[in-house]
Symmetry: C2
Subunit: 400 residues, 2 copies
């Protein structure tokens, strides 16, 4: 509560708090209105206190045409009618007091704590973020990885998510996810266990952060709030509707350098997050799995159709983030074999050397199809590597 008292209850903050209740996330006409008129005037117009000046409606239409916003959101007149039924619900002071009571705060784009990477969303940048957790800077995109996937994860998905999140957190990355059952929960839990940064994990919620939803994740989300951050663009008391889930996904993608889909069905909200990441020019990773698992079909779809990169461990994810993290790099998968550096001729000669019996240079020359001089020279090189040995008057294969 002490930290939130630092934030002045200025008009801009109160206006954005109020507007976030009036408008659904990504209400294109509303966001354009705020961009063109500023939040405080936008609230006066939205609440009918003042009438929009001549030309403003036209400016909104032009701005939205430029940004390709959905036509159904466009007109200001329609928007005013849309906002009107919610005017009685506006209570920004109460909402800010609720957040302070919960040890949280509201941040707006002019705040120092505002994550700069959200500006990549352009007109889709949220009006504000309702934030439960310690008052400390969120990580830059380069140090945040989104791990997302199905609610009905398999034991395979759970195990891979746990390994990835723990190992990424150990490397100093923040793990971003959506606080849901399944992959999300495994990601948050393992990040809390492995966390080495000040904000080990962030849950971005589709509904208000006053309630930890779903209820089965209440303890987990409380821990995320205590050690990391729980965020939403909708105000306290907002229900997590399907529409808000889809909009929330763009925030998960925008906060993170990489979005990794661990398990997803052919049609899955996690793919929506991946598409947001692609649109933002962020990297997308997909974890492969059995072709027989419906829960990997969405990942394979991303690998096949989308620009997703196949990732199988934390090192590969970190590489996508353009960083190997703070930990030591993992060892290569296997040691090179001793015969890897051989020339073609020496490889052929090695093939021709018997494993048990011994043989002569002349016989080797015929079997390998090499001149006796080449065989002698090759035996010398292979001998140095221990791949050819002289034994009982003949040559045989060595163990290297």
């Amino acid at each position: 509560m002490t930290e939130s008292s630092k934030a002045p209850l200025d008009a801009e903050r109160l206006a954005r708090a109020a507007l976030s209740r009036l408008m659904e996330p990504q209400d294109a006409a509303g966001l354009a209105l705020v961009q063109l008129a500023g939040a405080t005037d936008a609230l006066r117009i939205a609440s009918g206190q003042v009438k929009a000046g001549p030309g403003l409606e036209q400016e909104i239409t032009e701005l939205l045409a430029d940004t390709g916003a959905a036509a159904s959101w466009a007109g200001l007149a329609a928007a005013l009618k849309r906002w009107q039924p919610r005017l009685p619900d506006i209570a920004p002071e109460r909402d800010l007091a609720t957040m302070a009571r919960l040890g949280g705060r509201l941040i707006i784009p002019s705040d120092e704590l505002w994550p700069a990477q959200l500006a990549d969303l352009g007109i889709q940048e949220p009006l504000c973020l309702w934030w439960r957790g310690q008052e400390q800077p969120l990580p830059p995109a380069a140090k945040a990885i989104a791990l997302v996937g199905s609610r009905d994860s398999t034991s395979y998905g759970a195990s891979v998510t746990g390994d990835l999140a723990y190992s990424l957190a150990q490397r100093g990355f923040t793990v971003v996810s959506g606080g849901a059952y399944g992959i999300d929960a495994h990601a948050h839990r393992a990040a809390l266990a492995g966390g080495s940064s000040t904000v080990p994990t962030i849950a971005v919620m589709a509904g208000g952060v006053d309630r930890f939803y779903p209820s089965g994740n209440e303890d987990l989300l409380r821990a995320v709030a205590n050690q990391g951050a729980v965020l939403a663009e909708v105000p306290p008391g907002s229900a997590p509707t399907r529409y808000r889930f889809l909009q929330r996904n763009r925030l998960i993608a925008a906060l993170s350098a990489v979005t990794v889909v661990v398990e997803a069905r052919w049609r899955s909200g996690a793919l929506n997050t991946a598409h947001h990441a692609e649109t933002l020019g962020r990297a997308v990773g997909a974890v492969p799995g059995s072709v027989h698992s419906a829960n990997s079909a969405g990942c394979h779809r991303l690998l096949r159709e989308g620009g997703a990169v196949c990732v199988t461990d934390a090192a590969e994810v970190a590489e996508l983030a353009g960083s190997s993290g703070s930990a030591l790099p993992e060892p290569p998968h296997t040691q090179p074999a001793v015969q890897d550096g051989l020339t073609l001729e020496d490889l052929i000669l090695l093939d021709a050397l018997p494993l048990r019996s011994t043989t002569s240079v002349e016989k080797l020359s015929s079997v390998a199809g090499l001149s006796p001089e080449s065989v002698r020279a090759g035996l010398g090189r292979l001998g140095l590597l221990g791949l050819a040995v002289w034994e009982r008057g003949g040559w045989k294969r060595g163990k290297g």
Copy 2:
């Protein structure tokens, strides 16, 4: 035997039969010599009957520099020494008689039966093919798919290979593989079972086709020869050395429109086949699997580092071949949900409709953040889809 008697035992054929015993596959100087001097003169030079004319050595060197062949194979003088020890083994008439006795034949590039797609190998095109099986045209590349992978396949790899090979064969594709244990054997076996083309499967061997190797696959390879084809570029009696396995892989890749790696370790011969396919500009597919399976690590490596496309069923492989084959296309993975075509506004309204209780237009207007007019219009549209129903004086969600 009747069919092989059709092939005249001309000098060109005898020369290539002899040269294929003298030279290892891809002996760059030898292939250049044949290209520049013709097979019969090349044999006279290789066997020391005539001396190479002035300038020929230089021409060989230039040709090889142009094609980027390995330097260790380059010089003609070194090549003559390399071939000399094998001169006593040359017996082309005996080898052709052996093939005729086995119901097979030798084909050379001038034969009508020569697979045209091998010309894509350029200087690496084989001198000839020793062929066991019915005398009938091999499929063009567009109708052939290579399925390759580990010898120590898992039950997952076996099952996926079986599904792919059977289904591809049913679609009229020829399945090309290497006749080895593991993935190769599963591919040949399932292709024989599903085969609908005249050549359901082709085994390209690293050693001579007089012997079915490995011995545990003898019955399978006999069936492949009876119903399909068993091919090698090395003459009868040749041992399947490691070097020949690596060279053989280029033939598997060149015969096929697509090379699919079903299961492969981080370091695997199957990756070598995939690289040959890439070099030839052919498509490469990789089957995903568990990140915990060492036998899928090579496939994931191809997906991550190479140009491989993620493939999970025969339809996706056929698509890579630029053809859906002759069978009916598979049904889409899932049916679209009834709410898929909804506008954002209608989706928000659908979210706001209670599942059990009923509600009013005014309440919906506030919950959804839509004007009453929009709510009424939206309820009309959702009602037509059965997604909104009027019941006991109020609105609730319908089942669609």
